[in-house]
């Protein structure tokens, strides 16, 4: 084991991000270029709306992962820091004289400071412990602030929330942010800045110690660092970027309500972050993208999207705790050995048929749901572009057959895939 690993000692280091002196620039340049051209590829208004939401979610998820992935702190109430940042920004939008003097692109700084301020207050007592205690406090404080939103009407606007108008700000080089596309570029710029700052933060002494405290708080204390203060600073930094995300939400939607603060919102960001994978910096980015797509695109197709998401989430926690990013990074050793291609056909056989089987199962679920809950007399339903009568037997037979055949093939071919996997991860010539 050890011998095999030492054959190429430099490689794992990059994975852990330990020794390299330089910060890799290429991914960032590519990301910037991609953000530039995306609106030219997806020109529809709805696409831009989705991309805006996606970018905001990415910032929020990255901020969340500063806690969960890097600091080992599980928060059930992180939406309040984003939400409060957003509320503050709407209030600034409504302060006519003041808002007329600051350009809109600077507004997220105020949101960030607001989130940071709140995080400073809460963190002062919540970061004493990590683990379960921290999680419970975060939940309690989150609930408290969310509940306050209906009482403190002056700030939170009660049930209907508060709204503002972003275009009253000082024009920024002539841009007044009337168009959705202008807002897109504002958000994209902030996405790039925030992501870069959060990445760099993870490379600072404090960022490294956050990892150390996550893994072994006691040892960190005997190295001169107070685990509590390290957690506190991570918490405050995370609060800042959550506030930035909230501010961008305020700019994009121009309205904030109780929904931006509540536990559901906090839960969703945990879901997105964990699905993407907490172990790697890009995990939350992946998670936020997939999650936003599910939330916006899949939810148009089926009422049951949250049910499917719940299943996927539980399966992820149970079987792939590394999330999507973890799954992707599992392929790095095979790629290094130049054997990634050998997995293609087995993947197609097993995962392809498995996916078909899952779609069949989803079909069954949809039909059951239709049978139970559609209004009386409504027998026709549309599934995968086929319209049929859910009260006849044929569609059921088809769906059951697809499910069983698909999953059956996946099961039969799984050993071959495992074999191919082992093969692809073994250097040529090495004893098996």
């Amino acid at each position: 084991m050890t011998d095999q690993l030492t054959t190429d000692p430099t490689k794992p280091a990059q994975r852990i991000g330990a020794g390299s002196l330089t910060v890799p620039l290429i991914p960032w340049v590519l990301a910037a270029a991609l953000l530039m051209v995306l609106p030219f590829i997806f020109t529809a208004n709805s696409a831009i709306t989705i991309m805006n939401q996606m970018a905001i979610t990415i910032i929020f998820a990255l901020a969340y992962n500063m806690l969960l992935g890097q600091g080992g702190m599980l928060s059930f109430g992180h939406a309040v820091y984003a939400g409060v940042g957003g509320f503050a920004c709407v209030h600034i939008m409504n302060m006519d004289d003041f808002f007329a003097q600051i350009p809109l692109p600077l507004l997220p700084i105020f949101g960030g400071l607001m989130g940071m301020g709140l995080a400073t207050i809460v963190g002062a007592f919540s970061t004493r412990k990590a683990g379960t205690v921290f999680a419970m406090i975060s939940l309690g404080v989150g609930e408290l602030i969310a509940a306050c939103s209906v009482i403190i009407v002056a700030f939170f606007g009660g049930e209907e929330g508060i709204s503002g108008d972003r275009t009253y700000g000082m024009p920024f080089f002539g841009v007044e942010f009337l168009q959705q596309i202008e807002v897109y570029y504002l958000i994209a710029a902030w996405l790039l800045i925030s992501a870069a700052l959060m990445y760099l933060y993870s490379r600072t002494p404090l960022g490294r110690m956050a990892n150390a405290v996550r893994d072994n708080p006691e040892r960190a204390e005997f190295l001169g660092y107070s685990a509590r203060w390290v957690r506190f600073f991570s918490f405050v930094a995370s609060g800042f970027f959550a506030g930035v995300a909230g501010a961008l939400f305020a700019i994009n939607y121009e309205i904030l309500t109780e929904e931006n603060l509540n536990t559901t919102q906090s839960g969703l960001i945990l879901l997105a972050t964990f699905l993407g994978g907490v172990g790697f910096f890009f995990g939350p980015i992946l998670g936020a993208i997939v999650f936003t797509l599910v939330q916006t695109v899949l939810s148009l197709q089926t009422e049951l999207w949250a049910f499917y998401l719940g299943i996927v989430f539980v399966v992820t926690v149970m079987f792939f705790p590394g999330g999507l990013a973890g799954l992707l990074m599992m392929h790095v050793p095979a790629m290094r050995l130049g054997k990634l291609g050998r997995l293609g056909v087995p993947y197609l056989k097993t995962l392809g048929s498995g996916a078909i089987g899952c779609l069949g199962a989803a079909g069954l679920i949809e039909m059951t749901f239709h049978l139970r809950h559609a209004s009386a007399g409504d027998h026709s339903m549309t599934l995968f572009w086929i319209t049929f009568d859910s009260h006849t037997i044929l569609p059921w037979i088809v769906a059951i057959a697809v499910t069983f055949v698909g999953l059956g093939i996946a099961r039969r071919t799984a050993p071959a895939l495992a074999e191919a996997w082992n093969e692809a991860n073994t250097p040529d010539g090495a004893p098996r």
Binding site: G72, M136, V153, L270, F307, G310, I311, V317, H373
Partner: protein
């Protein structure tokens, strides 16, 4: 005076109901170090199962069968879900139970839909037990109190007087030693998880008819239960009892008596800013106790955590 008595009874009902949930949660937590986020979801399942059973076999069979089904389901979750996630550590365990809570809520909506179920108290208990100064106390409330107290006494008996209880208590403090003595600790864990969730199921069965059986019922009660065991001190059964009753009474009383912040502030010597609708403090001045009744537990929790981080009766943390 009479009103106080009525509110005492109402608060007791709420508190004991809360205790049935927090007792199971505390037991599971002190045993396995896991806070079961989905605990209130099992409470919801209890209500739904009992409703479904009551359609065919009546309320009483529901009270009997539903908790058993919930308990078996809970044991299954421990055996096939939690035990697997356990190897990754406590935080993934917590995330798992969180995901489970989401999934159960969606599942309930999938099966029963989004509307409230017409789950009602049994006819035999639909009468007024007695009345105090014109306030009638329904028999069902008395029934709830009796069930909760009976369960509490039963639990206390099992934990302190039986062999199983001794093993559980020992396993709480020294799981490794108990395992070395030849006891099947994983089986005990599964059993405790099953019993804990079954308790939540009982709570659901008897609370469903009065508090409503709808997909959001787990969410409504869930976070309050967590707050309860944090206030009581994580892992302390007595703490859970005291905190449950405390919260039950605090919320009931602050809803029953319309205490106004205005009066308090005036009494403290502040003058009301005029005109009030234009003041930044208008929300503070207009607060009334029924308005904040539901967030009082959270405020209490934050205060406890600041001044007594281990809770009222807690000795240790996670």
């Amino acid at each position: 005076m009479d009103l106080i008595l009525v509110n005492l009874i109402d608060g007791l009902v709420t508190g004991l109901l809360l205790f049935m949930l927090s007792a199971g949660l505390t037991l599971i937590f002190s045993m396995m170090g896991v806070l079961n986020f989905a605990h209130a979801s099992f409470y919801m399942l209890g209500a739904y199962f009992a409703f479904q059973i009551s359609l065919y076999l009546g309320f009483w069979m529901g009270l009997l069968i539903a908790p058993l089904v919930v308990g078996v389901l809970g044991a299954g979750v421990e055996r096939y879900g939690l035990r697997r996630v356990h190897q990754y550590g406590h935080v993934p365990e917590l995330i798992f139970t969180f995901g489970l809570a989401l999934l159960i809520e969606e599942l309930v909506q999938f099966i029963w839909g989004k509307n409230q179920m017409p789950y009602a108290t049994p006819e035999i208990l639909q009468f007024t037990a007695f009345s105090i100064a014109g306030n009638s106390i329904p028999a069902y409330k008395i029934f709830m109190i009796f069930i909760s107290i009976a369960i509490f006494i039963g639990l206390l008996y099992v934990l302190t007087r039986t062999r199983v209880g001794m093993i559980i208590q020992a396993a709480l403090t020294y799981p490794k030693t108990v395992e070395a003595l030849g006891h099947n600790v994983p089986l005990i864990f599964m059993g405790v998880f099953g019993v804990g969730t079954a308790l939540a199921g009982v709570a659901g069965v008897i609370a469903g008819p009065v508090l409503g059986t709808f997909p959001g019922m787990a969410f409504v009660l869930g976070s309050i239960v967590f707050v309860t065991i944090v206030i009581g001190g994580l892992g302390s059964l007595w703490g859970a009892l005291v905190a449950s009753l405390l919260i039950g009474w605090i919320t009931t009383f602050s809803k029953a008596y319309n205490l106004r912040m205005e009066d308090l502030l005036t009494w403290l010597g502040f003058t009301k800013p005029e005109p009030i609708w234009d003041s930044a403090w208008r929300d503070l001045w207009s607060i009334t106790s029924p308005q904040i009744a539901d967030i009082l537990p959270y405020i209490l929790m934050v205060l406890i955590l600041i001044f007594r981080p281990y809770g009222l009766f807690g000795k240790r943390d996670a």
